[in-house]
């Protein structure tokens, strides 16, 4: 009897445990998430951000290899540090939002890289040009939600962001640091 009970209990536990851990994040709370960037203009650090973006997410930290993420950024929602800059960067020589309204990131691989850390690679497409990006994703559990954060540096020249008189990097630097903080929520 006791033996049977123990076996039954163990059986229940082994089934129940993975189930309890199988939290798969499927949505992102946009009001608690942000995508920011930072660049240098003649040695002066300037912060910016994108106010509108959408995500498609399937991320179970326990099964990272199956994870998938797509992020679409509405480039017209840019805050480039000043209203004058906002008006400028949506224009033809920068993002050209009329022809390329969105920047997209699609993950290609997610690998565990330590406790609550993952190596992520993906394809970033801006202004019709696609480049590989890689970064370390940090996962911070917050109750049933999880904060997913990370950052990487892109070269604006790779995407021809800033053409013509802006193409040189002496005024606006080539390196643009992109950071994100996404509050992910579980789904069924």
């Amino acid at each position: 009897m006791t033996k049977f009970n123990t076996v039954a209990l163990l059986a229940t536990l082994t089934c129940a445990l993975p189930a309890a851990h199988a939290v798969e994040y499927k949505t992102v709370a946009l009001d608690k998430s942000k995508i920011t960037f930072n660049y240098k203009q003649m040695g002066v650090a300037i912060d910016g951000q994108f106010k509108k973006f959408s995500t498609q997410l399937n991320f179970d930290p326990a099964k990272a290899a199956n994870a998938k993420a797509t992020i679409e950024i509405d480039l017209a929602s840019v805050d480039a540090g000043s209203s004058e800059a906002d008006d400028e960067v949506v224009g033809k020589s920068w993002f050209n939002v009329k022809s390329f309204p969105k920047a997209t990131f699609v993950s290609t691989q997610v690998k565990p890289a330590g406790p609550n850390q993952f190596d992520v690679t993906g394809k970033l497409t801006i202004k019709g040009q696609t480049r590989d990006v890689a970064f370390v994703l940090k996962h911070t559990p917050q109750g049933s939600n999880g904060l997913l954060s990370g950052g990487f540096t892109i070269k604006r020249g790779d995407f021809t962001i800033g053409e013509g008189p802006w193409a040189k990097f002496d005024i606006v630097a080539n390196d643009i640091q992109v950071n994100f903080q996404l509050t992910a929520q579980p789904g069924k």
Partner: protein
């Protein structure tokens, strides 16, 4: 006794600071009014940086100049000059000193409020005294501009007064600030 020769002319340091700052201020004023209405371009950003860098330089020089002014008594006004005009001249000079402090200060503050830190010569970051605040940045810009119009007015009055002393009153007010001025005394 040898103080007497100084009584008629400014010290070489005071003269050098006066003319250096005259050149810098006229340059900054022209650049400031010119660049503000330019459409955004790399050149505009470059001009803004230069304006800020030279502005910070003037802000540092003015303290040096004030220190010199307070430790080296300038030559007295000619006895022929009416009391009221002497008073006006003094007031005008202190107003100029005040503006030479207030104008770079408002420029620095407006830059901070607009979210652009000033990095002197692109190398030395100057602390932001204000957090980013669009509305405040706009207001400070208005103050910066208004004070500069006041500076234009005062500099014009200052130059006109110097010329009036030279050509109408025929005293040594102008020549004692010139590089070779009043050596014969």
């Amino acid at each position: 006794m040898n103080q007497l020769s100084h009584d008629h002319s400014y010290t070489p340091v005071a003269k050098a600071l006066h003319w250096l700052m005259a050149a810098l201020l006229i340059g900054l004023l022209s650049l400031g009014f010119y660049m503000a209405d330019l459409p955004l371009s790399p050149d505009k950003l470059q001009l803004y940086s230069w304006h800020k860098w030279v502005g910070v330089t003037v802000f540092l020089l003015i303290w040096l100049r004030l220190l010199w002014r307070l430790t080296h008594r300038p030559p007295a006004y000619p006895a022929s000059m009416p009391r009221a005009l002497q008073f006006l001249a003094h007031g005008g000079h202190w107003a100029l000193y005040g503006l030479m402090i207030a104008i770079p200060l408002t420029g620095w503050l407006m830059s901070s409020a607009k979210g652009f830190q000033t990095v002197w010569w692109g190398v030395w970051p100057i602390p932001d005294l204000l957090a980013k605040d669009k509305e405040l940045g706009h207001n400070l810009q208005e103050v910066h501009e208004a004070l500069n119009w006041l500076l234009v007015l005062l500099i014009s009055g200052h130059a006109a007064a110097a010329l009036k002393h030279h050509w109408i009153d025929r005293d040594d007010i102008l020549t004692r600030m010139l590089p070779q001025g009043n050596k014969h005394d």
